[in-house]
């Protein structure tokens, strides 16, 4: 079992994200997510991934939890009194995040794992200002989380797919920041966050 795996597991379980499996698996011919992400993400059987797949399953499930969170958050916009501009943006972004959820769930299954269950969230946003503020935090956190986890991914197919998703998170982050009159790209090099740091950051939003 790799260090990566050990480092990931306790934190993930501590917020009761279920569905991780440590059983061995058979990597199917092509990943569902790859088919969605474009030709570059669709690869042949990756033999080296066999021994190290458990780590990838947990990373993808970790990403899936963040995407559940973002999807639910943007859907929240429908019930808030927001300007049309923000509502439209939230609708568009919710669709993107939902596609990420679908792709990541497919990827976990292709890796032989069980997709993490969707937690219940509570965001506590009441108006446009608090909505956009949390949107920025969530999108930036998403970018930092994917970038932090990226180098730990063993399968190049999963890595390619994660790359195609994190680029979207970064684009969302920049757009939200522009709306808030914040620097769209605050650093020359985006930060990274460890799984620990990400989970600590989003934990207050997870009810169960």
């Amino acid at each position: 079992m790799s260090n990566t795996h050990n480092a990931l597991a306790p934190e993930l379980f501590s917020v009761e994200v279920h569905g991780m499996t440590r059983s061995s698996f058979i990597l199917k011919s092509a990943l569902t997510i790859g088919a969605t992400a474009g030709a570059a993400a669709v690869g042949p059987f990756v033999s080296s991934a066999m021994a190290q797949s458990d780590g990838d399953i947990e990373i993808v499930n970790f990403a899936l939890t963040l995407e559940y969170l973002e999807t639910r958050f943007y859907k929240e916009a429908a019930s808030l009194n927001l300007s049309k501009k923000v509502k439209d943006l939230a609708k568009e972004f919710a669709e993107n995040e939902q596609e990420h959820v679908n792709a990541l769930r497919g990827a976990v299954k292709q890796l032989g794992g069980k997709p993490a269950a969707k937690p219940k969230f509570e965001f506590g946003v009441t108006d446009e200002k608090s909505f956009l503020k949390l949107a920025q935090t969530l999108e930036d956190t998403g970018v930092y989380a994917y970038n932090g986890a990226g180098p730990m991914i063993k399968s190049t197919d999963i890595l390619a797919a994660a790359g195609s998703i994190v680029q979207i998170e970064a684009r969302h982050a920049a757009a939200i920041r522009l709306m808030r009159d914040e620097a769209p790209a605050p650093d020359a090099f985006d930060k990274t966050m460890t799984v620990d740091e990400v989970l600590a950051a989003v934990k207050p939003l997870i009810v169960s």
Partner: protein, 231 residues
């Protein structure tokens, strides 16, 4: 016009001085904003994809990884870095020329200036990393851009940034050294942020590819930027 490459770079200083580099790595601790730069500087001698995948925060301690990367892997990474460096030279030059041309004032002018500074930081970091891996950084190409019309320039900026993001996306899975990968990822999302900003400025979609960004392979990217390179 002053050559921005003449400016002293803290990054290069750090890269040249292993003592201050170690101190720097200790100093930044975990997950800090400058972690990715430290990763770039710590790129040499990293592990292969065998074990101990490191997070940027760990980079200080993985320098002594026991798995020796193969010669081909290192060469492949150097080639990718030099390719990225060429694109970053191009972007840096572009923004410098745009700023000098004075086409944009106020907030947009500040944005473009900042983006240019980011690209310069990428250039510095990539050069240092190529050297750390034992390679020779490519030289900056001479560039030419049509800078007569502000709107056309903004659209060109958007095109270049979207292309840059797609280029990094295509290369990431090909990078062998985990620390180089971490750094490339941290640059990739900054290019994406630039792209989304410029797309917004010129009235294009924030995510033109939809929910999944599309990669662009090297031959396609180089063909696209060819018109901007003199020699």
């Amino acid at each position: 016009m002053p050559d921005p490459r003449d400016q002293p770079s803290a990054l290069v200083e750090l890269a040249d001085d292993p003592t201050s580099r170690k101190k720097f790595l200790r100093m930044i601790g975990g997950g800090g904003g400058v972690a990715a730069m430290a990763v770039l500087l710590g790129a040499c001698g990293g592990d292969d994809d065998k074990d101990t995948a490191s997070t940027p925060a760990d980079s200080g301690s993985t320098d002594t990884g026991d798995a020796k990367p193969s010669k081909d892997d290192v060469k492949g990474d150097i080639d990718i870095l030099n390719y990225a460096l060429t694109l970053e030279y191009l972007e840096t030059d572009f923004y410098n020329k745009v700023v000098d041309a004075g086409l944009f004032k106020g907030k947009n002018g500040d944005l473009l200036k900042t983006f240019g500074e980011h690209e310069q930081a990428h250039v510095d970091a990539l050069k240092a990393t190529v050297e750390k891996l034992g390679g020779t950084p490519v030289t900056a190409p001479e560039t030419k851009f049509d800078l007569t019309d502000a709107m056309a320039v903004a659209e060109l900026a958007a095109t270049v940034e979207n292309l840059g993001a797609a280029a990094y996306l295509a290369q990431a899975p090909k990078i062998k050294n985990k620390e180089v990968l971490a750094a490339a990822l941290s640059i990739h999302t900054v290019e994406a942020r630039h792209a989304a900003t410029l797309n917004t400025l010129v009235g294009k979609g924030i995510t033109p590819d939809g929910a999944f960004a599309k990669p662009a392979e090297m031959d396609k990217v180089l063909a696209a930027v060819k018109p901007f390179i003199v020699a």
